[in-house]
């Protein structure tokens, strides 16, 4: 059996790069940082591919199922003899798959950033933060226990915060980074509570023990009931709260659109391909517990995912900032992944949803990163984020145009591109659960195709605008990652994904059910064609429709007033009814008691200070009087 000890280096190399570039990057020319960072990630990527090859082909299976391997483990913090926090490397199908996704996208983004960030202030800082992020994300997916995952989870949040606020002189970027950090942090409190309840109930942090379907953690049942739900259900709901915060699920999604203030490669890496799917990964990692011990929590996952998906898809149709459209699209696709996990069962054919979710995560990473990097190339060329200031760019940006089109076709689910296969599996999983969910999935697909092609036609077709200068194609260092990712967006779906990643590790036969595939493709084509009619030539149909929809359109355009709702809740309710009484209590009761103590001390001391007159003989007089009085008292006591 092969020794997987080297997998530690997949994680450690980005950390080393972070330290090197962070401390010494400014001593060299900026481009050196970029090259060092990119080559470091290249090594990590090569190691990941090697690991995947070895893991999937050279590790003996037990009963046809892929095993969970501990490649490396060290005790980091020993709490009791039984309960200790480890740091290590866990290899199983989903973590190996995530290693590939993260290192590939991260490598592409590094390469792309060499060109995109050229001439920016803080070039080295950017690359060191990118490496820090890659390190944290890789550490998260290979976590052997939930506590290690939590540590890296927070690290990912920090690096996301740093990168969103990269342009720290821009007020909106600073506000967005704070918003992202606070919202995800708030969700992470839930995650921590979930971890504590879970580890208290089961007595372990270890994933292998926790998720073994025959293990004690699952067979001991749900634990005591509280408010009609078992302890395990509560802990899983809290854990999912953390996942929902990171994965921008409703109602904790408000940070994601604002996070687009960060540099575009960051959006591609963190807010499209990797960090935001951490929530999905978390649920997938804990899936057996969700399924066996907390089915109610799994239903919550399903409903939240489905609702977020359709909610975000509707908003995406109304936005004009291309990055925001992509952000809402990301939220919608992640909603689909959550939804697929929610409808999934465990093992064999029942685990189709699980497989579909992971498959979609895999393909989505490619085409969404491609879309973001393409959007970056467009923004780079026209210096604007707004699609109504773009148009007719297909002649100026041929490579970006083709790759963007491929990504749009892929996400819209047109065969034989990657998105078709994964989305088809999700729809099939939904169909197994109920017809309503299937129709919901089809609606989301149609909306997805519509807003993606709205974006595509508005940018590349339509009327040509007056640009400041003729838009020009991005340099090679930026177009090569686009082309590579486009290859991924085309061919990733052809992988026999179900043979590798399934809920119980046993390979699954993947088949395309025409009864599902045909409607799915038809709605995708329908959405795309509608967008073509609306936006290919300049028409007044979109305006007519938006005025016809009236209030609903305005609500969707204002993102259903979620930001306003949050402001209302925080400013008007929490500030007025919680913070103010607490502040009053602090000022009057806490400070007041302290002030009272000092006031009393001060008063008493002014009254009695005249005793200390400095007159030696007065002191002596008091002393002698006291001594005589004591002597008399003793004599009196003795004689009686």
């Amino acid at each position: 059996m092969i020794n997987f000890g080297f997998t530690v280096w997949i994680v450690l190399i980005p950390l080393i790069i972070f330290v090197l570039v962070g401390f010494f990057g400014n001593r060299f020319k900026p481009v050196v940082s970029g090259i060092v960072g990119t080559s470091g990630l290249f090594v990590s990527m090569a190691l990941s591919y090697y690991t995947a090859y070895q893991y999937f082909f050279n590790v003996p299976r037990v009963g046809d199922a892929f095993q969970k391997l501990i490649a490396y483990n060290t005790v980091w913090l020993r709490l009791t003899e039984k309960l200790h926090i480890d740091l290590g490397v866990l290899l199983d199908p989903i973590s190996v798959m995530m290693l590939i996704v993260i290192t590939t996208v991260s490598f592409m983004v590094h390469l792309y950033s060499i060109g995109y960030m050229k001439g920016e202030k803080g070039y080295e800082r950017f690359f060191s933060f990118l490496s820090l992020f890659s390190f944290s994300m890789l550490g998260l997916v290979i976590a052997t226990n939930i506590f290690q995952m939590y540590i890296f989870w927070e690290l990912v949040g920090v690096s996301s915060y740093l990168l969103i606020g990269f342009y720290y002189t821009k007020d909106t970027a600073v506000a967005a980074s704070k918003k992202a950090f606070i919202v995800t942090r708030f969700a992470d409190v839930g995650f921590l509570i979930g971890i504590l309840i879970l580890s208290f109930t089961t007595g372990t942090f270890d994933f292998i023990t926790l998720t073994d379907p025959n293990g004690t953690a699952i067979t001991q049942g749900g634990g005591i009931m509280f408010l009609g739900l078992s302890t395990m259900t509560w802990s899983m709901i809290f854990v999912f709260m953390g996942g929902a915060g990171k994965s921008a699920m409703f109602p904790l999604h408000i940070w994601l659109p604002d996070a687009m203030e960060g540099p575009t490669p960051v959006s591609a890496l963190i807010h499209a391909a990797t960090m935001v799917v951490a929530g999905v990964y978390l649920v997938a990692r804990m899936f057996p517990i969700f399924h066996f011990s907390a089915p109610v929590a799994l239903d919550v996952v399903m409903y939240v995912g489905a609702f977020s998906s359709i909610f975000a898809a509707v908003i995406a149709c109304t936005q004009f900032d291309i990055k925001r459209v992509l952000a809402y699209s990301t939220m919608s696709q992640i909603g689909l992944m959550m939804f697929a996990l929610g409808v999934s069962g465990y093992g064999e054919e029942a685990g189709l949803g699980f497989m579909a979710s992971m498959f979609h995560l895999f393909t989505h990473a490619f085409f969404k990163a491609l879309l973001f990097l393409g959007a970056g190339a467009i923004i780079h060329a026209v210096h604007s984020n707004y699609m109504n200031e773009m148009g007719g760019l297909r002649k100026h940006l041929p490579i970006t145009h083709i790759t963007f089109l491929i990504a749009c076709l892929s996400i819209a689910g047109i065969p034989p591109l990657a998105g078709f296969f994964s989305k088809d599996e999700i729809l099939a999983a939904g169909h197994e659960k109920s017809l309503f969910l299937f129709i919901l999935g089809l609606t989301i697909s149609a909306l997805t195709a519509f807003y993606m092609f709205r974006l595509y036609f508005s940018i590349f077709w339509g009327k040509e605008q007056n640009y400041h200068h003729t838009p020009h194609e991005a340099p090679k260092v930026m177009t090569i990652p686009l082309m590579l990712l486009a290859l991924g967006a085309i061919f990733a779906g052809l992988l026999p994904f179900a043979s590798f990643v399934t809920s119980d590790g046993k390979p699954l036969a993947m088949h395309i059910d025409l009864a599902i595939a045909i409607p799915a493709v038809l709605v995708g084509v329908f959405g795309a064609l509608t967008a073509m009619v609306f936006y290919r030539k300049e028409t007044n149909i979109p305006e007519k429709i938006s005025t016809a929809l009236g209030g609903f359109y305005r609500a969707a355009f204002r993102k259903f007033y979620m930001d306003e709702l949050y402001l209302f809740i925080t400013r008007k309710i929490i500030f007025n009814y919680v913070s103010r009484p607490i502040a009053w209590f602090d000022r009057h009761i806490v400070d007041g008691s302290m002030n009272g103590v000092s006031y009393v001390t001060n008063e008493v001391s002014t009254r009695i200070k005249s005793f200390q007159s400095g007159q030696l003989q007065q002191y002596a007089w008091v002393f002698v009087t006291g001594a005589v009085a004591l002597a008399l008292a003793f004599i009196y006591l003795w004689t009686n």
Binding site: K609, Q612, S613, G614, Q615, L616, Q617, A620, W621
Partner: protein, 105 residues
Amino acid sequence: MFEGVPLTWFLIVATLMFFIGIYGFLVRKNLITILMSLELILNSVNINFVAFNKLLYPQHLEGMFFTVFIIAVAAAEASVAIAIIINIYRRLVNIDVEKMEEMKY
């Protein structure tokens, strides 16, 4: 004990000396006089030591030794006190105890 001199007489002398010393310590304003009063107090205690030693344990000499100790310590104390008084005099050109109230609150 010395023939014909009862203990009470020693004690009367010692008590008189003691209270004269206390009186001087409390009433006189001159630091040198206060120091002299202090010596009176110490010596009255010495008389007590010697008298009681002779009366209670004629074979032993602890009381005598204590007296010698007290005389030695008193000498040291007197020299330190006089040094302090000289310093005070240099500073204030005065050795009136009531004028020295810089250390009050």
